[in-house]
């Protein structure tokens, strides 16, 4: 019952944190000059400026402005994106989907490779392969993602030209109907193999680069928790039963070692979201991160605010889900032990 209580408490906390985030985003948008500055021109008279202020409501007290803005957000009105020359609410979904497609594959790579490498290293503690993997994971944590992405671009675009830039080949992309916005899924729904190949060819390198950082984090955690589990009594008794070592690791130690690793996977989602900003810029991926960077450079407030809001919500929800899963898994371990 403790677990249910915990989950309910976490769920109740979420709206408050979300509200705090909206306050923070709103406060941010009000530092560094008037929010209507981009509409002002030199030859405007004070009356015209005042008219503009009234039109956008910036003459009202801040709390009133905040409530008005929040009401707009709730109705799906996120303002006008100067970068895309369209309402934010029209641009956002396609951008978000492009990022989600990249991030999903990236996290899959991070988790699969991370758990694999971590298990391999942990089972061969202090042997040569363990050291190699450790060096790899420590450099993974120190590697500037933007630089790693560019080095991969030099390697797979200049030297061995197999990786294209962007998200698709426009000729192939226009052949299919886009039901979901996910290029890979849509190409399967259209039963169009050449579109699927196009989608994967464009996705592969950016997703690998994006996943690399998270992989290092997951592998490190997996290794240390597997090393810990290997010292437990139940591992010895499994060995004493005469189980082969592979089976001891796969069926017993790895299962328990996965539990703490799940927390790190949740955390590495944040890493992944941040990374997508950099990766999308390098590989010209038309996602949320690239859109936001353009907004940032041009001082487009509506774009920046929408980006911060959406990423914060995605991040908080993912973290909540991970915490809840963890709570249930952890309880099972406690019950199993007792």
């Amino acid at each position: 019952m403790q677990v249910r209580e915990y989950v309910v408490r976490r769920l109740l906390k979420l709206p408050f944190v979300l509200l705090a985030v909206t306050v923070a985003v709103f406060a941010l948008s009000r530092v560094g000059g008037s929010p209507i500055a981009i509409y002002l021109e030199h030859e405007m008279s004070p009356d015209e400026v005042q008219a503009l202020e009234e039109r956008y409501g910036v003459d009202k007290p801040l709390p009133v402005q905040y409530v008005a803005w929040l009401g707009g957000v709730a109705r799906g009105d996120l303002g006008w994106s100067g970068v895309s020359v369209a309402p934010v609410s029209e641009v956002l979904p396609a951008r978000l989907v492009a990022t989600m497609e990249l991030a999903t594959l990236g996290s899959f790579i991070a988790i699969a490779l991370g758990i694999g490498l971590g298990t391999y290293a942990g089972a061969r503690r202090n042997r040569f392969s363990d050291h190699v993997i450790r060096v790899l994971t420590v450099s993974g944590a120190s590697l500037p993602l933007f630089w790693f992405a560019l080095m991969m671009l030099i390697l797979f675009y200049l030297i061995i030209p197999i990786a294209p830039l962007g998200r698709f080949d426009p000729d192939v992309y226009s052949q299919i109907t886009h039901y979901t916005g996910f290029y890979t899924i849509d190409s399967i729904l259209n039963l169009n193999p050449s579109a699927l190949v196009d989608a994967i060819v464009h996705l592969a390198l950016p997703a690998f680069v994006l996943g690399f950082e998270g992989m290092a984090v997951v592998a490190r955690m997996m290794r240390s928790s597997l090393v810990e589990e290997m010292g437990e009594d139940y591992v010895d008794s499994a060995r004493a039963k005469g189980l082969p070592e592979r089976r001891v690791i796969r069926r017993h130690a790895r299962r328990n070692a996965l539990i703490p690793t799940i927390t790190v996977i949740g955390l590495s989602w944040g890493v992944l979201l941040q990374g997508s900003v950099v990766v999308e810029n390098v590989f010209r991926w038309p996602g949320l991160g690239r859109w936001a960077t353009e907004g940032v450079i041009r001082g487009d407030r509506a774009t920046i605010m929408a980006f911060v809001l959406v990423t914060a919500v995605v991040f908080l929800v993912v973290n909540l889900v991970v915490d809840v899963i963890y709570a249930y898994l952890d309880r099972r371990v406690v019950l199993g032990a007792g």
Binding site: V21, S139, A141, S142, P144, V277, V278, T311, A312
Partner: protein, 309 residues
């Protein structure tokens, strides 16, 4: 859990800073132990070389006038590859010397790291101390603020702050400083709450020491160990973080900073001009690797409980 801190307090009449110096000496001794590990030593060597480069920058490459933190422009040598006389590492698309950017970039990074770590450490210590030592409502309110800060990925917030303040390297420093303190606040608060439980703190109350004196003499010194580890790792992390922001175009054009060098070199890569981005990014990597290796080694000896996590 056996911490040398307990030993530091045998003489209640000792000077106020005695326990600080004892702690510092202990950390110094342990750092020597840490250096026996080859990876930690490698980290230390990288750090020493890069810091020496930062300090000796004016002697290595003559400073640009009037602003040495701007790349000198040589309009007669645009996009020249490495090995060109006068430009051993080549130039950018605007004739900026890459070697100059690499050397003076070390100075920019060192300055940035000291400023940001200094500010966030002081602010984090004050806020963490209030939360941990005063406790009660203060603790509750301050820790909720910390929660909100740590709830959102920091690059996203930094991007927003730096964008709204306007693109400049100074604003990058401000943005990173705003985001850096909650981590220290949390470490220091936890450490203080843990230390408060000790009997020697009760003893200090009994002999009539003032609260502030107890805080300064008996409690604060115990926070040093994890803070030293965190600060070492942060020295590397902030440079990487700032480089990412300036790579994305948030610093002024032409500044002698590694991330900016990569940003300026990015467009040239598809046309085969690999050198600008490669050398700039390599420096960020080395800097960050050096502090990570050294910080990890330091943690293993100073704070063994968290080893490998």
């Amino acid at each position: 859990m056996a911490d040398a801190a307990h030993v530091d307090h045998v003489s209640p009449l000792g000077g106020r800073w005695q326990s600080f110096t004892t702690k510092a000496r202990r950390i110094g001794d342990l750092s020597k132990t840490a250096l026996k590990s080859p990876t930690t030593l490698a980290g230390a060597v990288i750090i020493v070389i890069l810091i020496a480069m930062a300090i000796l920058a004016p002697l290595l490459v003559e400073g640009n006038r009037p602003d040495p933190y701007q790349l000198p422009r040589d309009w007669s040598a645009i996009n020249v590859p490495p090995g060109t006389p006068g430009h051993p590492l080549g130039t950018t698309s605007e004739g900026g010397d890459v070697l100059y950017g690499v050397v003076w970039g070390a100075r920019t990074s060192l300055r940035l790291a000291f400023i940001v770590v200094g500010i966030t450490l002081v602010v984090g210590t004050i806020i963490g101390s209030i939360a941990g030592f005063v406790g009660g409502k203060w603790d509750e309110v301050l820790m909720r603020v910390v929660d909100v800060f740590l709830a959102v990925p920091e690059l996203i917030l930094a991007l927003a702050i730096a964008a709204l303040l306007g693109p400049s390297f100074r604003n990058i420093i401000i943005a990173i400083s705003i985001l850096g303190w909650p981590r220290y606040a949390r470490i220091i608060r936890g450490q203080i709450i843990h230390t408060k439980e000790n009997e020697y703190v009760d003893a200090a109350h009994v002999i009539g020491d003032s609260k502030f004196r107890i805080y300064l003499k008996d409690i604060l010194p115990n926070t040093i160990t994890p803070v030293v580890v965190a600060a070492t790792l942060q020295m590397g992390a902030v440079v990487l973080f700032a480089a990412t922001l300036s790579f994305l175009g948030l610093a002024e054009a032409g500044i002698a900073e590694w991330g900016n060098l990569v940003g300026e070199g990015q467009a040239g890569i598809v046309s085969g001009r690999w050198w600008v981005a490669t050398f700039g990014g390599l420096m960020v990597f080395l800097w960050s690797l050096g502090f990570n290796l050294f910080g990890d080694g330091l943690r293993d000896v100073l704070d063994p409980r968290t080893e490998g996590r």
